[in-house]
Symmetry: C2
Subunit: 226 residues, 2 copies
Amino acid sequence: MTKAVVLLSGGLDSATVLAEAKAAGFECYALSFDYGQRHTVELDAARRVARATGVADHVISRIDLRRFGGSALTSDLDVPKGRELDHMAEGIPITYVPARNTVFLSFALAWAETLPASDIFIGINAVDFSGYPDCRPEFLRAFEEMANLATRLGTEGEARIKIRAPLMSMNKAQIITRGVELGVDYALTSTCYDPSEQGSPCGACDACLLRAKGFADAGFADPLLG
Amino acid sequence: MTKAVVLLSGGLDSATVLAEAKAAGFECYALSFDYGQRHTVELDAARRVARATGVADHVISRIDLRRFGGSALTSDLDVPKGRELDHMAEGIPITYVPARNTVFLSFALAWAETLPASDIFIGINAVDFSGYPDCRPEFLRAFEEMANLATRLGTEGEARIKIRAPLMSMNKAQIITRGVELGVDYALTSTCYDPSEQGSPCGACDACLLRAKGFADAGFADPLLG
């Protein structure tokens, strides 16, 4: 069985990507990060999703991006609430964590090299990349190019390292529809940027609003709210 | 004053690079890693070098690359001793840590973006890149390309992010000669892959042998042994 490293935040997108990787026949190694995010309830979600989907291993790497500052997700900055969906796409949002996907993919690359696994899955999609520079296809292509020069696997290995983002061109409704087809239990996931300590979503941050619109457009009820 | 992030391992090369960055007029932000390496004495060396050189800030990031395995520097694998210099260049050595420079540069990029600093210095050189894939110029160019697509700084900023490796085309003797010119105190540095608990070099690993040859070729005595 071919191995793949799958970045798993515990959110809706990464849960769907993990299901895609499984469906494609990969033996999955899930990688999550405790990176000083305010909402550690997403790590509980990642554990639940990994267990429910069935992975060969699940690593939670502890790294501290707070020391570098600069994001509402790792500091006391206020997470924006109740924004119009049209306004979310303007500029780079305050919830952007500097170089986060670069750091996450670098760790995935380190693990991929030792497994070895030539496939790395990440749940980036068309909605996310409206604002985050490190969610765009050209970023992923550049990372893949670099990864193949950076490693023994890419330099001496027979297979080229591939960064796979199967959701890239899908909107939230399409992702949810695909996930339901694959049997993803979205009740296990966590999406909110600012959940309660018990893990209840706030219902008003960008992430909650995009999730709600996605379920509405797809014609499904969100099991998290059921 | 223009800011720069400087990767500082506490070794001979990174101490020289830090001095180069200072000499070039940068306000320096030194970044070291506690990455589960066997020889944490190099972190003490990094602290001494940062203090002696004078930096605006020095961060030691704790990340655990041991969980991914695969290197003599982070595991119980034996560090090779007493090898002929000619044989060191054959293949990728057992001391290679998978994706290490990619991970280190990703953290430097995160910090650079929040400072902001558009210059990142790394002490890669011609001797190192004989065996490590992530010490080659083409790797650095690919990382730089990726970095400018990954970040707000690279996307919206006025300055292009630059990965600077001023030692790239220098051998150890040239690096030491340049460092002596710049006033680097090599007594503060630590190079050995397998030092004693007190920090004394083993004198027989690849790193010790390359350092000894460098000082001999440059015509200086190594103050660490004095």
